[in-house]
Amino acid sequence: MKTPEVIFEALKQHFGEAILAQQANVLNEFMIDVEPSAIKKVSFFLVSEPEYNFDNLILISALDDANGKKVIAEDGSFIFEGGTLSLIYHLESTTHKHRLVLRVTLPKEKPEVESVSQLWQHADWEEREAYDMIGIVFLNHPDLRRILMPYDWDAGYPLRKDYKNPEFYQGMKVPY
């Protein structure tokens, strides 16, 4: 059992620049910001070191931070220019019973990150969902397709804050 602070120090030592900062959220659960390019390495380290042994990936949540410049169009709809998308990894060790939260922040223009599905099979579907809903592209993912939306959905990524429903989908009217 290790506290997130201890793990943060260890990671900082090991990866240096790739570990950006730690942030406390309301309930003092620490979240460690990781450079996007290093997430695979950091995950591998956390899984393979017996000291940490984060064998269980609880959840990958993707979210749109909605922090870009809001551009309002004439019809009242808006888009965000710039800004970031985030991926939050909740990890847990079933042997040591400690938990850790990692965050990766990606630019909205080019949201690409290395897939961790080789480490945790569970990440396969979670990453597909993140791709489907927010539009984050996972490099080296075995089967990156849409999962909940139709395979031929081309109107964007629904969970982005500036998502707009299309008028028609395959000839069917979408908004009721």
């Binding site: 609880i58 959840l59 979210l63 909740h90 079933t94 099979q121 569970h122 629904p158 998502y163």
Partner: protein
């Protein structure tokens, strides 16, 4: 000389009697032997997470009901705990007890459906109706409490929508006495039935390392022999007060982690739930169930992940608040969604008939898979 044979692709579903909803399985067959299974989901997708971003925190509760519609009480349980933690509310004892009672009744009801429909999948129709007879009595208990039988909107942030009626405790205890007989009956009729054991034992074996790697939780993980229950390992509400065991799969009829284990673990869990219920019904204190309901729910900026032991597995809510009346993002860790991901792995090399046995044994609810 080798003979080239062609693989047949069989589409199971979206409308098929035993896909438990609108699930499409693309099955690649060599004769009757499965080469690969690919689940295609999303037929029931109704943008739950998108809806959440446009609604206030209490308005989300009815939507949460519709995730795992066989265990609505437990979905609410997990959600209200998450929001209460965000707000820093402590609810009265009576509320905690009633929540646990409702949650455990819901667990029994959900497992009864799992067991009954599993019987149908294997071809035994009769145990299903015995299970539903008892589930009906649980639903009646819910109905006298909150008026609804499937989607309750019963647990509110900081309290409950109604107190339990005066004769609830008596009726619940009467039910528990009768229910023990049902468990014995189901065991005799189904669990130890030779044909049923033949069909399920040594089929779809899930080793514990694979299970953890795939994020499997709840009864399916315990059936693989891992003693892992969030009620014990990361206690929430008042579960640390009750005395109950965590059954794990032992491979009594076959190998640890086979379909029979996954089925039988649910039977054993119902027995444990009865234990919890008996204790909780005896200890329930007096009090007001609505005194801590906040007038206005507006949590500070922050984020939280809370998890509960849903009948299907680890149900988690990841809520990000930006300080408004609506959450910025709600992400659900839906156990059924994660469990379905292992179908392809489990089915390889089995026969067509085993798909049904395996799918039934991991007990998914499509409302939760597709959200």
């Amino acid at each position: 000389m080798s003979v080239k044979t062609e693989h047949m692709v069989l589409n199971m579903g979206p409308q098929h009697p035993s896909t438990h909803g609108v699930l499409r399985l693309e099955v690649e067959l060599d004769g009757e032997i499965i080469i690969d299974v690919k689940p295609h989901i999303g037929y029931l997708h109704r943008c739950f997470e998108k809806h959440c971003e446009a609604m206030t925190y209490p308005q989300i509760i009815p939507y949460v009901d519709r995730l795992d519609y066989l265990a609505s009480m437990y979905n609410e349980f997990g959600y209200v705990i998450a929001v209460e933690k965000l707000l820093g509310i402590k609810v009265p004892e009576r509320v905690e007890y009633i929540r646990v009672i409702m949650g455990e009744f819901q667990r029994i009801a959900s497992h009864l459906v799992a067991i009954g429909t599993y019987g149908i999948d294997i071809g035994a129709f009769t145990p299903f109706l015995y299970c539903f007879r008892d589930r009906e009595r649980i639903l009646n208990l819910f109905e006298i409490t909150c008026g609804a039988r499937l989607l309750y909107n019963y647990m509110w942030v900081g309290g409950l929508s109604h107190d339990i009626p005066p004769d609830f405790v008596r009726l619940a205890k009467e039910f528990l006495v009768d229910f023990k007989k049902t468990i014995a009956e189901v065991n005799n009729l189904l669990s130890y039935n030779k044909i049923f054991v033949e069909r399920t034992a040594n089929v779809g074996i899930l080793p514990v390392e694979t299970a953890i790697n795939y994020g499997i939780s709840g009864p399916n993980l315990r059936a693989s022999g891992m003693k892992w229950d969030i009620r014990k390992d990361d206690p929430y509400s008042i579960y640390d007060r009750f005395d109950f065991d965590i059954p794990v799969g032992e491979g009594l009829r076959g190998t640890v982690g086979d379909c029979w284990d996954r089925y039988y673990i649910r039977v054993l869990e119902m027995v444990e739930s009865v234990k919890i219920l008996e204790q909780a019904l005896d200890q329930i204190p007096e009090g007001n169930v609505q005194e801590t309901i906040p007038k206005r729910i507006k949590p500070a900026e922050g984020q939280i992940y809370t998890r509960v032991e849903n009948p299907k597995g680890e149900l988690g809510y990841f809520i990000v608040s930006k300080g408004g009346l609506q959450p910025h993002r709600v992400k659900v860790r839906a156990p059924s969604f994660i469990h379905l991901g292992i179908m392809g792995e489990l089915c390889k090399g089995h026969l067509v008939a085993d798909i049904i046995a395996i799918l039934g044994s991991i007990d998914i609810v499509l409302g939760e898979v597709d959200r």
